[in-house]
């Protein structure tokens, strides 16, 4: 599947968009397509390629490569795409540590980088760059929203846990930023840990009234299954990463009723989202995930900028990206001064639709939420 350039058939004019200043744009997508974390990369790729296909724009070509979730490989792929493939725009990276490895070097060489997922704080604050745009979220956003939700739900004594690595430390900081109650406990687990018996025992002994956790991927699956089995029934809240469409089926009943925070869900009521959900299911035969929606928005942002400016004129192209003149599946979408989304973040609840576990929006945690790093960013 890699290295397939996509050159779609129909022309942009057929879609009725004014094709002014239209020049070809070559996109390099570096994402995780093999190994344990491949599900996320595949969703981002599929979302992105779906948008490209639906737009049918001849001028957009995409080179896709697998980073194997290894930062060293990602750096080398970025070098290759910049040096050999002569791409104009890079995108696709899922993980913050890979983004930290690739983005500064890429933007320093004058390439645009559109992040469909990772939004580490270093790239939002002091390390921000005029050519770096994040289309998903700043890493802290969903955790802050969880803290905001905790206040409105009346939590007074949360037990919080996350893996002991930078994104985990940011998650707990993010939760505490807006959360006003006290802490029954704060625990860092090992990255990749699969057994949470010890942490669950500590939660039980701590007298907490609620639990906040950030445990992406398999860690979250393990935690939720074990938590459900422990008989503890404190309310649990977490960011959407442990509840996305791809892994929810593996958690099963243990996730039912759990609240999680997300900037997107398939039931957000707007035309763009409805079209996306239908088209994604028709194309790939599964429900889209959060990551697919981010990939889809990333492609549409890029297409909207291509319609306005030529990528060769970096200033004009940057202004066109900044305008974010596209129909986001999230509804309202605009960029903050440090090129991260200003968007609503919702509270979702895990429900069962027939045989499929999915999410339903039950409220809004934060409206038009930006990020705290805007002031640190000097472009």
């Amino acid at each position: 599947m890699k290295l397939k350039s996509l050159i779609a058939a129909a022309s942009l004019a057929a879609l009725g968009t004014a094709a002014m200043a239209e020049g070809p744009v070559k996109v390099g997508m570096i994402t995780t397509l093999s190994g344990g974390g491949a599900g996320l990369g595949i969703d981002v790729r599929d979302g992105f390629m779906l948008a490209a296909k639906m737009a049918g724009n001849d001028n957009l070509s995409v080179v896709i490569e697998d980073d194997q979730r290894k930062p060293e490989i990602a750096v080398q792929l970025a070098d290759k795409m910049i040096q050999s493939d002569k791409v104009d725009v890079l995108t696709g990276i899922i993980w913050s540590n890979l983004a930290m490895a690739v983005v500064p070097a890429a933007t320093a060489q004058g390439k645009f980088y559109l992040s469909p997922n990772a939004g580490p704080s270093a790239l939002a604050g002091k390390g921000c760059d005029k050519n770096y745009f994040n289309v998903a979220w700043q890493n802290d956003n969903l955790h802050e929203a969880a803290g905001g939700y905790a206040n409105s739900a009346g939590f007074k004594n949360s037990f919080i846990l996350a893996p002991n690595y930078p994104a985990g430390q940011d998650a707990l900081t993010g939760y505490k930023r807006l959360y006003k109650g006290g802490l029954a406990g704060e625990v860092f687990t090992q990255l990749g840990q699969k057994d949470y018996a010890s942490e669950i025992a500590q939660i039980r002994a701590s007298g907490a009234d609620s639990v906040f956790f950030f445990l992406p991927g398999g860690m979250g699956i393990s935690f939720l299954k074990q938590y459900a089995d422990s008989g503890l029934d404190l309310p649990v809240v977490g960011p959407a990463f442990s509840f996305d469409q791809g892994i929810l089926q593996a958690v099963g009943d243990a996730a039912m009723g759990v609240k999680n925070t997300s900037q997107w869900n398939k039931d957000i009521d707007n035309a763009a989202n409805a079209a996306f959900v239908t088209a994604f299911q028709a194309e790939y035969g599964r429900l889209p995930s959060l990551y697919a929606s981010q990939g889809y928005d990333t492609a549409n942002l890029l297409l909207s900028a291509m319609a306005k400016a030529d990528v060769g004129d970096a200033d004009a192209f940057r202004a066109a990206l900044m305008a974010a003149d596209f129909d986001s599946v999230r509804g309202d979408f605009k960029f903050s001064a440090n090129h991260h989304p200003i968007q609503d973040i919702y509270v979702r609840e895990v429900i069962k639709e027939g045989d499929v576990y999915t999410n339903k929006i039950i409220g809004t945690a934060l409206e038009d939420h930006s990020n705290v790093y805007v002031d640190e960013c000097k472009m």
């Binding site: 093999s34 990749g192 699969k194 057994d195 002994a205 860690m219 699956i221 089995d229 008989g231 892994i247």
Partner: protein, 306 residues
């Protein structure tokens, strides 16, 4: 730390330990009898978990899932032994390491090709779910108690198998002198296949049992494999008894360390920093334990001549 919390953590450590034992027992048997170092043992653990998830998904029966896990892992083990592993017995450890490293690549990506990139669903059966109240008012998940019981039962069965049965006699004889038992008319290549399949089945069983409370995904075997290595190095390679004691030591050290270390650092640090530092130190504890044991006894606790 309250007494109740402490007892609960000891139980957690025990449960972790017996599951490690299931992994380590197969590794140590295969090494003891055939002199083979098998990095792909973690892949057999994964095969067990995926087979269980697939069968549980199709039939809804946890018991059938466990049987499927045993059968699939044993079959995969036997197949690999017949096709590849048996060519490696006469080779040095280097070739064995490389060939089984290659097998990991094949198993992992093959599983992903078959089952897709997303984790699979496998859950605890209803009759084992939820907590029970132990004497002293401890709430403890029934399933974890069942895991401890299952692990200890398998351990007991294995000891009986080795000490009381004909196969056990052959295994013990194979450990001390391979050529001699072949000369005595034992079909040595059949024995090897059986031992390898037995070790694989134990790993598959562990994968299925643990998969019910953890995530069933590609790459789940390798972290456990490395812990199992630590276990058999501590216990002494080739020794089932050593594997059991090593597994319990590693399980308890890892579980108790992860709460004791942050508590220790909390005495002279603020809460967040203490959690982070304590967690960093506790992740290294079992390796420190291993180094300490090896300095004291270079062949592990129960290791004979290797």
């Amino acid at each position: 730390m309250t007494t109740i919390l402490f007892i609960e953590q000891v139980l957690n450590g025990l449960q972790f330990g017996v599951m490690l034992f299931l992994m380590a027992a197969g590794l140590t048997l295969v090494f003891g009898v055939m002199g083979l170092i098998n990095l792909a043992h973690g892949s057999l653990y994964m095969v067990g978990a995926f087979a269980a998830a697939a069968v549980a998904g199709a039939t809804g029966s946890f018991l059938l899932a466990l049987i499927a896990a045993l059968a699939a892992a044993a079959a995969a083990g036997a197949l690999v032994e017949l096709l590849i592993i048996r060519r490696l017995y006469a080779r040095d450890h280097l070739d064995q390491v490389l060939a089984t490293f290659a097998l990991i690549l094949i198993f992992s990506e093959g599983t992903r090709w078959l089952f897709g990139s997303f984790p699979l669903y496998l859950d605890i059966p209803d009759y084992l779910s939820g907590p029970v109240t132990l004497p002293g008012g401890i709430h403890y998940p029934l399933y974890r108690l069942a895991l401890i019981a299952a692990g200890l039962a398998v351990a007991a069965g294995l000891f009986l198998l080795i000490s009381r049965t004909r196969l056990g006699i052959q295994i013990r004889a194979g450990e001390s002198d391979r050529e001699m038992i072949a000369a005595l008319g034992v079909d040595i290549s059949k024995l090897y296949t059986i031992v390898f399949a037995l070790g694989a089945a134990l790993a598959g069983l562990a994968g299925a049992l643990v998969g019910a409370i953890q995530s069933v995904q590609v790459g789940m075997g390798e972290p456990v494999l490395i812990l199992a290595f630590v276990v058999i190095v501590i216990g002494g390679i080739g020794s089932i008894k050593g594997a059991l004691i090593g597994a319990l030591m590693v399980g308890l050290t890892s579980t108790l360390g992860s709460i004791a270390m942050p508590a220790l650092f909390r005495m002279f640090m603020d809460n967040s920093a203490a959690s982070a530092t304590g967690s960093a130190v506790s992740s290294m504890l079992i390796y420190i334990l291993m180094a300490a044991v090896l300095v004291w006894r270079p062949k592990g606790l129960f290791g004979g001549a290797v």
